[in-house]
């Protein structure tokens, strides 16, 4: 049995805890009165009696009031709407370069949940945590409510005439108007923009992506003659070698790649093999079969050596390469042997590194097989050099008007001072963004955009993959879609909706032959959400250039190992939750723990254990890195000599939730040959002597020394399907119960979680939070072990401290048939249903927390305070994030009870969905369809790692998984007989 460990050393943080955590804000609360932190008043007997009397009076009075409530019907009811029934709209999620095809669930006119669209060829029913959480952004009161002129509210009429006349004046004076946007991959928007550019002669369009892939674009232009990012097919690759590209977490199109990658993680079939070479312990690195630690500066040298080996293997030529920091002969051999079925990718934004990657892939014959140019990505097209040029122009005073939409260079451009400096010389500055950010805060005019759930749009994220976006709610504020604004300013009388319709009829109709009537075609596509015509019809981007035709001189590649010996390299990365920081004002995302570090509400400097020892650092120490000060997180698996820091934090103009969360490190970025480099060096790291407090969910759920995650190698598995799972048979034999075994003759709901497929991305956590009204508790409360997520993803390390392997395990209520929690509840508030569910009845619970104590899985959550404003006692509201405001509460699912203070809550297997599906079947007089009932976590899992179903249905996919040799239950030696089953993790350990 492997020994698993979770933490480097247990730390005594008690003193820090007491030192930093503040007493509750208002001391009139019960806790405040009883608190021993009130020095002037130790709680005396008198206070106790006072409190008793008070609480009795309050509870008596509050129960006396019977509120008269109103039932307000529609005046004229919309035809399609049935009160109390959900309506689903297929739409698309677009935020910067993020894209996902989605289905929006609305109840009585308001979106309450986002689900994946299984029709899509890109996301195939998967979503990400960011997509799930984008729903909450709709109900963000911090969004602009109306157009603003110099910070003062105004009307659309006056702002339109004013801006149009100013723009026209600039055109007359032959000035320059710049439209600054992120990469636009909406075909209709592109036409709108080109119309705008034509109308205002002398105007230009600049695209800017905060996380830049411009080196890749430039390299592909040289290597293949096309300045695009190709379509990587991870499902077609037997061997994936990734050098610092976190393609399961943040790189390019993670939802799509997770789907593809996981589809090849079935050990019974042709399982793929992932080798990750990286500095930070990323999500992809955590899921890799082999992970090799490197420094970012070594990337070029390693690639040159791989190139050397491959050119030797494929073309039998000799090439002189500098000495390699690591042994690459094995990797190269494997690459050569799986030529045409392999994939080499790099996350670097250095052009010569990407050129080398292209050359190796070309040598291996991967182009056209695992790397396709027919269906290239359109989500990342921006070049850093364009932005550089724009700033140069602005500083020279050559730009007369700047229209900014949805980009935030004042925050995330590496040289923000230059941008701000240049902005001062621009006569007219207009923001078209929907929510406040650092950039729009210093612009003259604000013409706010809709949220994407209020908008019409279309998208072509990949060539030949079209999708439509439709509003799921009427606009909440007095906003107007950016494209509508541009159309209006261009003098068009057409609305954007009509524009899209016309565009699709003109351009998309001919790509299909199914529908002849344009109205039917559009409506049908709108209902489906996506339009993916046969690839042969879509005009291709052209074949990549011939392999030999591109001059490439590998000797020109700089190995770049010029960093001083003592200096430490810094690697900047995006987190799964926040990315570049667009959704920083989203409390769901802020509270989503990082999959690896398990820290939320913060960024930090990840440092390797060895280096921490050298610098004499412990967790939570604050260090000075020259430009910024950051707390230290000692991260096993962090490459020695490197520090990992997350971008996207430290915003100060995004709203009450995200302001001043974490540290802003964008100014530490540099630019090299016109491309932003996401690495850096620091020569002096000094200890400040201060300590910092993390909200970390890691140390709370220790299941030490037990076989909760079981794994085996692929070869062992091939010999014995139950490899690594020997304990299961033993436990089955030896477990005996005094109680009579319960039977569930009708339904018996269960779940299977394939640990081999789960990547730990956190989508299920947010999906569950949205579906089940799970409250946000805030940083201080998370630190006090009060987080409320119903499903958590435990992360364990195995192996050496300096180079550990990582396993993820989603843990939710196991719905045990011999549930330890049920026996101890004094009021039977938790008990078993006839369908095998462990039920939790909130209105019956009075908060003894015995069940919580007795649960071996620690999945029960207690409402320590009034997090959701459902309680009757005053003064105990903990809602720093404003989640109980009227607008934010519109996100709540009306079918799930809001839990009050003092009750336990936990996963219900989405019983509201089970009941709804059963009722639908009864109404339609039929049996349930296969996979008709999906829990929130299983529906949108991008890896399809979670399967829910009826264990009594012997034909179901669930039963196929349960009957495999890999199945085991968590802590099965306790004989709790959970309904949640896990499948062992099988690693492809060949190296």
């Amino acid at each position: 049995m492997k020994k698993y460990w979770k933490d480097i050393e247990s730390k005594k943080k008690k003193e820090e805890v007491d030192g930093i955590i503040k007493a509750p804000d208002d001391d009139n609360s019960l806790l405040g009165l009883l608190s021993d932190r009130r020095k002037d008043m130790a709680a005396s007997r008198r206070d106790f009696l006072k409190l008793c009397g008070f609480s009795f009076a309050v509870s008596a009075l509050s129960s006396c009031q019977s509120k008269i409530s109103k039932a307000v019907p529609y005046v004229i009811a919309p035809v399609e709407l049935t009160p109390g029934e959900a309506l689903y709209y297929a739409s698309s999620y677009i935020n910067g370069s993020d894209y996902c095809s989605i289905v929006v669930k609305t109840r009585d006119g308001r979106p309450i949940k986002i689900e994946g669209n299984p029709e899509s060829g890109i996301s195939r029913g998967g979503t990400s945590a960011r997509v799930q959480a984008s729903l909450l952004d709709l109900y963000d009161g911090n969004r602009f409510h109306n157009p603003l002129r110099e910070g003062i509210s105004t009307g659309w009429e006056s702002i339109d005439t004013e801006i149009i006349s100013k723009l026209q004046k600039i055109v007359r004076e032959k000035g320059t108007i710049i439209l600054l946007t992120p990469t636009i991959f909406s075909p209709s928007t592109e036409v709108v923009i080109s119309g705008f550019l034509k109308k205002f002669t002398g105007s230009e369009w600049v695209q800017y992506d905060a996380i830049s892939y411009s080196a890749m674009l430039e390299a592909n232009k040289i290597s293949f003659g096309k300045q695009v990012i190709p379509d990587y097919r991870f499902d077609k690759a037997d061997l994936i070698v990734s050098i610092g590209a976190d393609f399961l977490g943040t790189w390019l199109s993670p939802i799509e790649y997770t789907k593809q990658f996981s589809s090849r993680r079935d050990p019974g079939q042709d399982m793929n093999w992932l080798i990750q070479l990286e500095s930070n312990l990323s999500l992809t690195g955590s899921n890799a079969d082999n992970r090799i630690q490197i420094k970012p500066s070594q990337e070029a040298a390693i690639l040159l050596n791989i190139y050397k080996e491959i050119i030797k293997g494929v073309e039998n030529r000799h090439f002189e390469a500098p000495s390699s920091p690591i042994d690459v002969s094995e990797i190269s051999k494997k690459l050569v042997s799986s030529a045409g079925k392999s994939l080499l990718i790099s996350g670097s934004n250095v052009k010569h590194v990407q050129l080398l990657v292209n050359e190796i892939n070309r040598l291996l014959g991967n182009i056209g097989k695992t790397i396709l140019f027919d269906s290239f990505l359109r989500t990342h097209l921006a070049l850093d050099s364009n932005m550089e040029m724009l700033i140069g122009k602005m500083q020279k005073g050559d730009v007369n008007a700047l229209l900014v939409w949805n980009v935030n260079p004042v925050y995330n451009w590496y040289n923000r001072d230059a941008f701000t400096e240049g902005l001062k010389k621009v006569g007219l500055t207009v923001s078209l963004s929907g929510s406040p950010d650092e950039t729009s805060s210093i612009l003259q005019y604000i013409c706010p955009d809709h949220h994407y759930l209020e908008s019409w749009n279309d998208a072509e994220p990949k060539r030949g993959h079209f999708s439509l976006m439709q509003p799921a709610i009427n606009q909440i504020f007095d906003t107007r879609q950016m494209t509508d604004t541009l159309l209006k300013w261009s003098g068009s009388t057409m609305g954007y909706y009509d524009f899209i319709k016309a565009y699709w009829v003109d351009n998309m109709m001919r790509l299909q032959s199914e529908f002849i009537d344009p109205v039917t075609f559009f409506d049908h596509t709108l209902q489906k959400g996506i339009f993916e015509p046969a690839s042969s019809i879509v005009e291709s981007a052209g074949k990549p250039g011939k392999s030999g035709s591109i001059p490439f001189d590998p000797l020109s590649v700089k190995t770049g190992d010029n960093a001083g010996k003592n200096s430490t390299e810094i690697v900047f990365y995006e987190t799964i939750a926040l990315g570049e920081g667009r959704q920083a004002n989203n409390p769901w995302l802020q509270e989503l723990p990082d999959p690896v570090t398990r820290i939320c509400w913060d960024n930090y400097a990840s440092i390797s254990p060895k280096q921490a020892k050298e610098f004499n650092l412990t967790d939570c120490d604050v260090i000075n890195l020259g430009k910024v000060e950051l707390p230290v997180h000692i991260q096993p698996g962090q490459s020695y000599g490197t520090i990992g820091i997350a971008l996207g934090y430290g915003r100060n103009k995004c709203g009450i939730v995200g302001n001043d969360v974490g540290t802003d490190v964008w100014p530490m970025l540099t630019s090299e040959n016109g491309n932003i480099v996401y690495t850096g060096t620091s020569d002096h790291i000094t200890k400040t002597g201060r300590t910092y407090l993390f909200a970390q969910t890691q140390t709370h759920h220790s299941m030490e020394g037990r076989a909760f995650v079981r794994e085996a190698g692929l070869n062992e598995f091939r010999n014995n399907p139950a490899a690594g799972n020997e304990l299961h048979a033993y436990n089955l034999e030896h477990n005996k119960s005094l109680y009579k075994e319960r039977t569930y003759p009708h339904h018996h709901w269960g779940m299977a979680i394939d640990l081999n497929k789960c990547t730990g991305c956190g989508n299920c956590v947010i999906a569950c939070q949205a579906e089940n009204n799970v409250p946000v508790v805030g940083k201080v409360e998370v630190h006090r072990v009060h987080e409320m997520h119903w499903i958590r993803i435990d992360r364990y390390y195995t192996g050496e401290e300096d180079n550990p392997e990582v396993v993820f395990q989603p843990v939710l209520c196991q719905h045990c048939q011999n549930a330890p929690c049920e026996n101890v509840c004094p009021v039977a508030a938790t008990n078993h249903s006839s369908e095998g569910l462990n039920q939790m009845i909130y209105n019956r619970c009075f908060g003894t927390r015995y069940c919580n104590n007795n649960c071996p899985y620690k999945v029960r959550r207690f409402n320590w305070f009034n997090y959701s404003a459902a309680g009757t006692l005053t003064g105990n509201l903990r809602d720093k994030e404003g989640m109980t405001g009227n607008l934010r509460r519109m996100v709540l699912n009306p079918d799930v009870t809001i839990r009050a203070q003092g009750v336990i809550e936990k996963c219900s297997f989405c019983i509201q969905r089970i009941q709804a599906s059963k009722l639908k079947a009864k109404y339609e007089n039929r049996a349930l369809h296969e996979n008709e009932i999906q829990t929130a976590c299983s529906q949108s899992c991008p890896a399809k790692a979670i399967v829910f179903g009826d264990m009594n249905d012997h034909k179901s996919e669930l039963n196929r998984l349960i009957n495999s040799g890999r199945r085991y239950n968590l802590l099965e030696e306790l004989f709790t007989m959970p309904s949640v089953n896990y499948l062992t993790k099988i690693k492809n350990k060949i190296l």
Binding site: S63, S66, I68, S69, K70, A71, V72, P73, Y74, V75, I76, A77, T82, P83, G84, E85, P745, H746, H747, N831, S833, S834, E835, L837, Q839, M840, I841, Y842, N843, R844, D895, V896, T897, I898, S908, I911, Q912, Q915, K918, L919, A921, K922, Y923, N925, R926, A927, L928, N952
Partner: protein, 448 residues
């Protein structure tokens, strides 16, 4: 027993007085705390003072019954006639002015306002032509349907209009019903102004609420006092020499206190019989009863959704596009629906059936899947003019039905998943399957 003083005699009466309170239901109903007109309060006070201890309980209640009746203006007695004569001189003074001036009067003295109130409540004697507005136009919240507009509605209507407009309706009635009732009114301009002034106050405060019946609270207090007295006396032995009396009182009051607390605690927060006034006097008896409209016509989502739904204004319009006049006061009420649709302002009905937030209830489940008729829960709506809550909507009420209601297993869903039950039912091994038999008592079926 030696010499017993008068005061000491009474202590033996105490338990009996208390008993008679409980045993006389008519009496307990009438024990209301009412704020009446000053005169009446004074009167009761007087009588109570005089006969505090001597008077028989029954007598005192009779007095109170009379008083409360007076307060509601149902009784015209001598006192009132006297009162009206008091304010008469002022009135006659007004009469000397031309009507147009009187109608514009805005400031009123307290005396005048009282006269307005008395006129409305029919307490002013005007000979044969005495009026009694309150007989048709409620001033109190009522739990039965009164087709006539109440004081609040009238005052809202005439708030922005002058008293002259009101006088036209009063003296020259238009509608057939009004012609009949408002026949031969002989009101002076002064009186009409005062009536309008009286009604205006309802705009601010709304209709008067009925005073809560607090009989049981009083009884509870008395019982508690007795209980305390007796328990003290068990120790000090000063009041009753015979300890058995103490023990009897203690036993009885304990039972009574427990019973009353239990009954009230169970009924807490439940609203059985709740029959609020609705913004439109909609009668289910007329629509569902006389006109035999199917429930599902208006509540069209009951079969397909969680909620039965309050019909949107557009549904009303299906019939009332043509039907603009009812037999009673339909014209005024139907006009409200049409106005709401014209103004695009939804009608804010008062919700009657309301389950707590932690209960999930689906009409679709019960009506479509379960095949339960509407009246099983909502009672005989066809006979209700004003709708009221029939069941107490307690969990016991739900469970009772789940225990007894038979399930129709012929649905394909049940045939697939409950095949064992279906087969044994067909084979005659069991005679029926109740809702509880298919998990109808699982907590999680309704609470999640």
């Amino acid at each position: 027993m030696s010499k017993v003083s008068q005061a000491e005699k009474i202590k033996y009466l105490l338990p009996f007085i208390f008993l008679s309170f409980i045993l006389n239901p008519a009496l307990s109903n009438s024990l209301q705390v009412v704020k009446t007109l000053k005169v009446q309060v004074k009167d009761t006070a007087k009588t109570q003072k005089k006969d505090t201890l001597k008077v028989q309980p029954k007598e005192s209640t009779n007095l109170q019954v009379k008083d409360s009746a007076k307060a509601q203006g149902k009784d015209t007695s001598k006192i009132q006639v006297k009162d009206s004569t008091k304010v008469q001189p002022k009135d006659t003074l007004n009469n000397q002015l031309p009507d147009s001036v009187i109608y514009k009067q805005t400031n009123f003295s307290t005396e005048e306002l009282i006269r307005g109130a008395r006129l409305f409540n029919g307490l002013v004697y005007l000979g044969d032509k005495s009026i009694n507005c309150v007989a048709c136009h409620n001033t109190h919240v009522s739990d039965t349907l009164n087709w006539n507009p109440d004081a609040l509605e009238i005052s809202r209507k005439y708030l922005d209009k002058s008293a002259r407009d009101l006088s036209r309706v009063l003296l020259k009635p238009i509608g057939p019903k009004m012609k009949l009732v408002h026949k031969g009114f002989q009101l002076t301009a002064g009186d009409i102004v005062l009536i309008k002034a009286y009604m205006n106050k309802f705009v601010g405060i709304g209709l008067k609420q009925n005073k809560p019946v607090i009989t049981y609270l009083l009884l509870l207090i008395i019982a508690s006092v007795l209980f305390l007295l007796s328990s003290v006396d068990v120790v000090i032995r000063k009041i009753y020499k015979d300890q058995r009396i103490n023990w009897a009182i203690l036993t009885f009051t304990t039972i009574f206190i427990t019973w009353i607390l239990a009954v009230n605690a169970i009924a807490f927060g439940r609203a059985k019989g709740f029959a609020p006034a609705q913004p439109i006097k909609f009668s289910h008896a007329v629509h569902a009863g006389q006109n035999k409209t199917d429930c599902n016509y208006c509540h069209y989502t009951a079969k397909i959704s969680k909620t039965a739904g309050i019909p949107p204004g557009s549904v009303c319009l299906n019939c009332h596009f043509l039907v603009r006049n009812g037999t009673r006061s339909g014209a005024t009420e139907i006009a409200k629906v049409l106005k709401a649709i014209d103004d695009k302002k939804p009608i804010e009905w008062v919700r009657i059936y309301k389950l707590p937030d932690f209960v999930f209830f689906s009409h679709e489940q019960h009506v479509s899947a379960g095949g339960i008729t509407c009246d099983a829960c909502h009672g005989n709506v066809k006979e209700m003019n004003r709708l009221y809550q029939v069941p107490d909507l307690s969990m016991g009420w739900c469970i009772d039905c789940h225990k007894t209601r038979k399930v129709n297993l012929s649905n394909e869903y049940y045939k697939t998943y409950y095949s064992d039950l279906y087969d044994s039912l067909k084979a005659g091994k069991i005679d029926s399957v109740r809702v509880t038999g298919i998990g109808g008592r699982d907590c999680g079926k309704c609470h999640y």
